[in-house]
């Protein structure tokens, strides 16, 4: 079913945003996040952005101090997901204006709204930035 979860983690390994598209208990989530974060943070620049973990494939990308980790099925197109991360970042950029970790921390709900507009049930719904941001702006107006 495509995307299983999306995580944003900072360099210290603290989770900044987590969205799962399948049900895991809190303990499972915590364990999974710990394992993945350790694994990904340990990798260097020369290594590729894909890691296999359990039965997921993790696609990750680093923006300054923030890591974006997306867990996908094994047969998902990795590069497409990699670019989807970038699209997400660009969208946030457009909304917040040069987005940073603090933006996401203090406007967690907005980050969630955007994500909600882009991904639904593990599938990509919308890739047009204007369309993604309309409901979020609507929220701000009212």
């Amino acid at each position: 079913m495509g995307i299983r979860f999306i995580l944003m983690v900072n360099k210290q390994g603290q989770t900044r945003l987590a969205q799962y598209f399948e049900w895991l208990t809190l303990e499972e989530r915590r364990a999974l996040e710990g394992e993945i974060v350790r694994k990904c943070l340990a990798r260097n620049e020369q290594q590729c952005s894909f890691v296999e973990h359990r039965n997921y494939k993790i696609v990750y990308r680093r923006y300054a101090s923030l890591f974006f980790l997306v867990g996908v099925d094994n047969d998902e197109n990795e590069l497409a997901i990699l670019e989807f991360i970038h699209l997400l970042v660009e969208t946030m950029d457009r909304h917040f204006g040069n987005v940073c970790e603090l933006d996401i921390m203090f406007h967690l709900e907005k980050a969630h709204f955007m994500l909600e507009e882009m991904v639904m049930n593990g599938c990509i719904v919308e890739t047009s930035k204007a369309n993604i941001l309309t409901p979020v702006q609507l929220l701000e107006k009212t």
């Binding site: 598209f21 497409a80 990699l82 639904m120 990509i124 890739t127 609507l138 929220l139």
Partner: protein, 890 residues
């Protein structure tokens, strides 16, 4: 609140608030309510039922934004109940032309969720046409969502959706030619790469394309993609275009297109694996591996061998390794394996195990000659001994044993290795085994006299662990045996060693030392027992099996499991155990004083006490294996004409006994078979026999467990009826398939097992009730034949079910005035049985009483005038005998 939750705390106090926000009239409140709900709750949560009506009102309402929110939530967490009540509304929304695309795209994905929950919501007949209509959509947002829906539908049933195929191709063409794509949907100049990828994915679910026109169009598009993609400066653009390109490659492979296009693809891949960008190189390698499977492109790929070998030096070598493994054949095996060997010493630690396993398999599979294979394995052990699993050296031993010409070569070779200053323990094991078996073949060479060989081996003894010492001891015994004419000095040396280890704390070593020592003194008998090992029957390499197994898993996990599998690795190298056992009975019976002589006397029903007796033998006494109880039990069982040869039951008793002793006698069936005992690739967790014995005393617990499955049992017993429930729990995140459970009931039990589902979904538990009726008393045990498949692994286990005699007992208290008349009214066998259990370990009285109670024999304290006597009573139930009073006194 989300923040708290994300940090990993439970926030159930807020669930109710969130759900009630959904019904708020204002947009922001509703929005927050919906999103929090869909993040925090799962589909089975009770609160969701409260919201279902509000959600429905929002969906059929007029307000578009509300519709969107409701659809999104249902799309994320909607369960079966939602599927049943909302599906028609959602379908209507998706197809209506009056709705804005905004709503319709959500509706498409919402429907997808509902479809997954309940496949009936989309009735296939009419839906295919409508789906095709949907694909004519101009809005790319809706198209993206619909395509996801289509992928799901098609993956289940591609035949119904033929009509969608040309539409997909058309969409793809439109995208690839960049016709009529709004600006906002292009990403770095590429028209929605995600939609392109999705469309090609959908196409891959159709087996072939028959319509020539569609096929031609598709190929044109693919060609365009293949040729039109260049490496550019901008990372994002580059990634996006390559995402499309790789998907196109996958599609080409799937369609198995013309040769020309294929070689184009390979050429492209060859280019990719040479680029600097790690992502693309990684994917290039991965796709090349995939390509190996679908076509006969091997020859073309081989041209890139050098390049692939250089990528072994990458930090991410897994892919390259897989690819090399896949492309290896007889012609290039030698190069590749040597390359792998060379790389082994510099490789990352996590990789070494896999690397060595693969090298070993390749060497075995494609070895041009066997001596080369032996060389490779020895090098492997030498370089990465820590990562060599026992299977690898077992296998090489197997080869050597089966090939006469190889034996002297191997023996000479290991001797060379042993002479090096630092030798890995695994090497010591192999060498000890091979030298023990075949060193006499070298005896004429210089420096290879038995004494010298012994000297080399013995040097290593102080450095090795307890698992290796037994192998060394065996080797000594064999060297000694092969020494013709006998060498007195060597003999005394070796005997001294045996003597020393006779008091070793490790039971295995102790047993061997004692046995070999005794055997050596026997002289003639020695020859037969220590003769060369017989040839092993040809079987499939356990390595290959393991590789299959580990491929089903990720590298890391498999490493852990492999290690777990190696635990029971002290397989024996003893040849004929029974005579050895007979010659030197390892159980010292005499010294154990008879501290307690319980007499067990049964009344009315022998078998129940028999059962109890054997249970006790199994669990609390130490009995000489040659105990005459076989006859005794046979006699006892005779009059009642009960099925089941007494020998067999006694055998099981022996097993129980030996298990208890754990040490010298623990040569059960599996260990007698020499080294390469073919193991189930999946090792059970915990001791099955122990679990069974525990369950004989309890009514619920775990019957069997391995890395994939756990079988629990819960039982209720009433008179001669029993009701068991088997809990089959899948511990993995992948489903277990081909699950089969078969009851093999003995004649005295009637058993009915309800239907066991064929698959167990991930992390789910299935309950299977099982009815048992006891027809007549017997000691046989019911067996459950259970098998399942995980990945390519078939696992089959036979489990004894704890439906034993004592389960059909029901304790009743008997007052003293009734007990003794009853007792006296029973005169002698067969109704009354008295037996002295010999060689008993002393056991405190309360413990004994507890044991009887857990067998459902009710102890009646104070009944017997002598406080050292235990008295117990119970009733036995079976269909043929109904209730029978049983009394026990000891």
């Amino acid at each position: 609140m989300l923040y708290i939750y994300m940090l990993g705390y439970d926030v159930d106090f807020g669930h109710m608030e969130a759900v009630s926000l959904i019904s708020a009239p204002k947009y922001p409140e509703k929005q927050v309510g919906y999103i929090v709900t869909s993040c925090l709750l799962n589909e089975n949560h009770d609160f969701l039922r409260l919201a279902i009506n509000t959600v429905r009102n929002d969906i059929i309402g007029r307000n578009e934004t509300f519709q969107c929110l409701a659809l999104t939530m249902v799309g994320n967490i909607g369960g079966r109940e939602f599927a049943e009540s909302l599906a028609p509304d959602v379908q209507k929304l998706l197809l209506s032309s009056s709705c804005r695309p905004l709503v319709r795209k959500k509706a498409a994905l919402c429907l997808l969720r509902l479809y997954r929950k309940n496949p009936d919501v989309v009735n296939v007949d009419g839906w295919a046409d409508r789906m095709a209509q949907l694909l004519d959509e101009r809005d790319l947002g809706v198209l993206t969502s619909s395509m996801s829906l289509l992928v799901a539908l098609v993956s289940n049933n591609h035949e119904a959706y033929w009509s969608c195929l040309p539409k997909c191709v058309k969409t793809l063409e439109r995208l690839a030619r960049n016709q009529d794509i709004p600006q906002e949907y292009t990403y770095y100049g590429i028209p929605s790469p995600w939609l392109q990828v999705k469309t090609m994915r959908a196409l891959q679910y159709f087996p072939t394309i028959e319509d020539p026109y569609t096929r031609r169009t598709l190929f044109e598009v693919l060609q365009r993609i293949l040729m039109g993609t260049d490496v550019v400066k901008n990372v994002n653009k580059n990634n996006a275009s390559h995402a499309v390109l790789f998907e196109a490659l996958a599609l080409v492979m799937h369609l198995d297109a013309e040769k020309e296009m294929m070689s184009q693809c390979v050429a492209l891949l060859g280019k990719f694996i040479a680029v600097r960008e790690p992502n693309i190189r990684y994917l290039g390698l991965e796709n090349m591996t995939r390509m190996l499977m679908v076509t006969d492109a091997q020859e073309i790929i081989k041209r890139h061998q050098a390049q692939i070998i250089t990528s072994l030096k990458d930090p991410d070598i897994r892919r390259a390794l897989d690819l090399l493994y896949g492309m290896c054949d007889v012609t290039n095996a030698k190069d590749i394996v040597e390359e792998l060997l060379q790389y082994l010493s510099s490789a990352d630690f996590t990789m070494r195990e896999e690397l060595s396993l693969k090298a070993a398999i390749l060497a075995e599979k494609f070895a041009p000659d066997l001596s080369w294979y032996v060389d490779v394995i020895f090098q492997l052990i030498d370089k990465a001994g820590d990562f060599i699993s026992d299977d690898i050296w077992f296998r090489v031993v197997q080869f050597v044993t089966n090939n006469d010409d190889l034996q002297p070569y191997a023996a000479a070779k290991v001797k060379e290795y042993l002479e090096k200053p630092a030798v890995h323990e695994t090497m010591v094991k192999v060498s000890a085994y091979i030298l023990g078996e075949y060193s006499h073949l070298l005896a004429r060479r210089p420096g290879c006299s038995p004494k010298e060989i012994f000297g080399i081996l013995h040097e290593k003894l102080p450095t090795v662990s307890t698992t290796t010492i037994p192998i060394l001891l065996s080797a000594y015994a064999k060297i000694l045996m092969h020494t013709q004419p006998p060498d007195q000095e060597l003999q005394s040396q070796i005997w001294a060693i045996f003597n020393k280890y006779e008091s070793c704390i490790d039971a295995e070593i102790q047993q061997r030392a004692v046995e070999y020592f005794a055997l050596c003194q026997k002289g003639a008998a020695l020859m037969d027992i220590l003769a060369e090992m017989p040839k092993f029957p040809e079987r499939k390499s356990s390595l290959i099996k393991r590789a299959e197994y580990s491929e089903a898993d990720t590298a890391e996990q498999s490493a852990i499991k492999l290690r777990a599998q190696q635990q029971p690795s002290n397989a024996l190298v003893v040849t004929d155990q029974p005579p050895a056992n007979g010659a030197t009975s390892p159980v010292p019976v005499g010294p154990l004083s008879l501290a307690m002589v319980p007499s067990m006397i049964t009344t009315e029903d022998h078998t129940s006490t028999d059962q109890a007796l054997s249970q006790q033998n199994g669990s609390l006494t130490k009995v000489d294996p040659q105990h005459p109880s076989a006859d005794l039990l046979g006699d006892l069982l005779g009059p009642l004409a009960i099925e089941g040869p007494p020998g067999a039951t006694v055998q099981s008793e022996h097993n129980a006994v030996s298990r208890l002793e754990g040490g010298p006698d623990a040569v059960d069936g599996s260990a007698i078979v020499p080294v390469e005992e073919q193991r189930n690739t999946v090792q059970p967790i915990g001791n099955i026999a122990e679990r069974f014995h525990a369950l004989c005393l309890k009514d619920s617990g775990v019957l069997y467990e391995d890395p994939y499955i756990q079988i629990g049992i819960k039982a209720e017993w009433r008179a001669h009826h029993g009701r068991l429930v088997l809990f089959l729990g899948n511990k993995n995140t992948a489903p277990l398939v081909s699950v089969q459970a078969l009851m093999l009931p003995p004649a005295h039990l009637k058993m009915e097992l309800s239907l066991v589902p064929d698959t167990i979904p991930p992390r789910a538990q299935v309950q299977c009730p099982l009815e048992v009726v006891n027809l007549r008393p017997s000691r046989d045990v019911a067996v459950l034949d259970f098998s399942y498949k995980f990945g390519t692994n078939m696992v089959n286990v036979k489990l004894r079910l704890p439906a034993v005699l004592n389960k059909f007992l029901q304790p009743i208290p008997v007052p003293a005035e009734e007990f003794f008349p009853q007792w006296r009214s029973l005169s002698g066998p067969p109704l009354k049985l008295q037996e002295v259990v010999r060689g008993v370990r002393p056991m405190p009285l309360p413990e004994m009483a507890n044991l009887l109670n857990s067998f459902r024999l009710m102890t009646c304290p104070g009944l017997d005038p002598n406080p050292n006597n235990l008295v117990a009573s119970t009733t036995f139930y079976s269909e043929s005998t109904h209730a029978m009073l049983c009394l026990v006194r000891n």
